[in-house]
């Protein structure tokens, strides 16, 4: 595997389609996702050997292989994400339970398979994968891993490539303790921390400006939130379906406590413990597999760096508009060709920026909340976030991909959209910086 960059990724930036004007993707429709595998979900790791995040990765990978119906020895690629959390880091003073570590094949880092991942750990613990020749570490998200695999399979670097994303969660709250508990502050946080900090504040201030700029109200978010939870409760792989099958009412949402107003508790996704994997292959090979191919029509990336300390609404909007143009151009489609959209939603308040950038259902900047007041359900003409996203199933940034593949394959169960699922889009996470998107099609053309 190539040397990782400072963020742990071994993927060269040349893989990603981050510029406008590149034309139709050279591998449009020649690559497809076929198999899907999910572990269970849990709020947190229960401390047992069978439920480590590593164990759940093995389970998800094996399910994806089985779902596609590919013999394990024919798997020749693996793209994974070394990081498995955004905030539940293993505390330096917490002993590592070596009996659990040693329940698996080990590497030189005992946290491998417990609070992080390496390809070495994964492959040592899956001896049936005897022919993996292409291995790459992506950055943070499943979106990034799919983009890498799509390009790699298209370029002929792998034929049957697994992609894997896992999230562990431990006891304790995100972001409390550490530097946040001190009386002085160094590093990048010195510019903001003295004034206080909340993880959702950055998005909250963008959304506040959005409301001011377009004369909208926070209440207009409600139908999206109710719809997303409803879709999540039809997602058997998800957290709320498995553990808390409660619908979210208008009152629940509007009366929940503020975190960083206008962001309330439900606008912040819930951290969970789970893993998912997909099998990406060539369109030719996909035809003979157990499931229908979900063709990849394009992948696009945003690598824009914000100008200053705080990403502004205007920067987010420019970024989302550019991403939308890249997505449509590379797939050779227009926004009206989209049957559904599964843009990222964690935090929920920025989903509208992504949707407007894409021009989904004809919305322009400032009109997204108006669309939420129409029929955005899976039964309607413009299904918004049929996956339910992180809002509907917990913090993974991958429900949107699982759902898109399942919608295209016609096996989204109760969530299946009622109009034909011909073309959809999924991806994230944020506007700007390090985000990736995929356009999925039921047909390769």
């Amino acid at each position: 595997m190539p040397t990782p960059n400072r963020l742990g990724s071994t993927a060269p930036e040349s893989i990603f389609r981050s510029q406008e004007g590149l034309g139709v993707w050279e591998h449009k429709g020649k690559v497809a996702a076929v198999g899907i595998g999910h572990s269970p979900t849990a709020r947190r790791w229960d401390g047992t050997a069978e439920n480590t995040i590593g164990a759940w990765c093995l389970m998800a990978l094996r399910k994806a292989i089985d779902d596609a119906g590919v013999p394990p020895e024919e798997i020749d690629g693996l793209v994974f994400l070394p990081t498995t959390t955004t905030g539940a880091h293993w505390p330096a003073d917490r002993p590592i339970p070596m009996d659990i570590v040693n329940a698996y094949e080990t590497t030189d880092d005992p946290l491998d398979g417990i609070a992080k991942l390496t390809d070495t750990w994964l492959l040592k613990n899956m001896p049936e994968l005897t022919n993996v020749k292409f291995v790459m570490a992506g950055m943070d998200c499943m979106s990034n891993a799919i983009a890498i695999a799509a390009q790699a399979v298209g370029d002929g670097m792998a034929n049957n490539c697994l992609v894997l994303k896992a999230w562990h969660n431990l006891e304790g709250r995100y972001s409390h303790g550490g530097a946040n508990a001190e009386e002085t502050i160094s590093g990048n946080q010195k510019w903001s921390n003295p004034y206080g900090s909340a993880n959702s504040w950055g998005t909250a201030q963008q959304f506040q400006r959005y409301l001011w700029k377009y004369g909208k109200t926070k209440e207009m978010m409600t139908p999206f939130m109710v719809n997303s939870r409803r879709n999540g409760l039809m997602f058997p792989e998800g957290y709320w379906y498995q553990h808390r099958p409660e619908e979210l009412t208008e009152e629940d949402y509007l009366e929940s406590r503020w975190i960083a107003k206008p962001a309330n508790l439900f606008d912040n996704d819930i951290p969970i413990h789970t893993a998912a994997a997909y099998l990406i292959t060539t369109a030719e090979r996909a035809k003979d597999m157990k499931q229908k191919p979900a063709y990849i029509l394009n992948h696009a990336a945003d690598r824009t760096i914000q100008r200053g300390l705080n990403q502004t609404l205007e920067e987010a909007q420019r970024s989302c508009a550019s991403t939308g143009r890249k997505l449509l151009e590379g797939a050779g489609i227009s926004a009206s060709d989209l049957s559904f959209e599964n843009m990222y939603d964690g935090f929920s308040l920025f989903h509208v920026f992504h949707m407007e950038g894409l021009g989904f259902a004809g919305v322009k900047e400032g009109e997204g909340l108006d669309l939420y007041q129409e029929d955005i359900s899976i039964e309607g003409p413009h299904p918004v976030s049929p996956s339910g996203g992180n809002v509907g199933s917990g913090r993974t940034r991958f429900w949107m991909h699982t759902d898109s593949i399942q919608q295209i394959q016609g096996r989204a169960g109760d969530r299946q959209i009622r109009i034909p699922a011909e073309i959809g889009v999924s991806g994230g996470p944020l506007p700007l910086y390090h985000s990736d998107w995929i356009v999925w099609g039921a047909s390769p053309d």
Binding site: N180, A198, A204, Q208, A260, R307
Partner: protein, 137 residues
């Protein structure tokens, strides 16, 4: 309302020294005439590393946007919850932003677009002063 004291490093020492003298300076690239904040070792506009200077600002700006923080992660700020947390855009370049608790502005009664002026507030741990912003009446 106690706040964490920022610890200067080699790169940003001039910014914090100026704060202690109640002056606001921002890094500027002479070669492409572009402000940037937070300061960096090189200009993100043209890549130049040795054309960076510290330019004194007027200390005038506008409220770009804000949120009201009820559940913050910085221990010292918890006793003051909830509090305003605003993005301030500088008059010299509205894309250069700083943050502020907007002292004197009642909770959630923040007017986006309002004119503000810089003041400096001492932080208890080291005495380091930091920029704060007040609405211009």
């Amino acid at each position: 309302m106690p706040k964490q004291s920022p610890v200067p490093d080699e790169l940003d020492q001039p910014f914090w020294d100026a704060c202690n003298e109640e002056r606001l300076v921002i890094q500027n690239c002479v070669s492409c005439d572009r402000l940037q904040h937070p300061p960096e070792a090189e200009c993100f506009g043209c890549g130049s590393g040795n054309e960076l200077e510290w330019r004194e600002m007027s200390g005038r700006g506008r409220i770009h946007s804000y949120g009201v923080v009820y559940d913050n992660t910085v221990a010292l700020r918890i006793p003051d919850q909830p509090f305003n947390l605003a993005v301030i855009e500088l008059e010299e370049d509205p894309e250069i932003t700083l943050v502020s608790n907007l002292p004197g502005v009642p909770l959630d009664e923040v007017e986006i677009g309002a004119a503000v002026t810089v003041i400096f507030e001492e932080t208890p741990a080291t005495g380091q002063k930091i920029p704060e912003w007040q609405v211009v009446e």
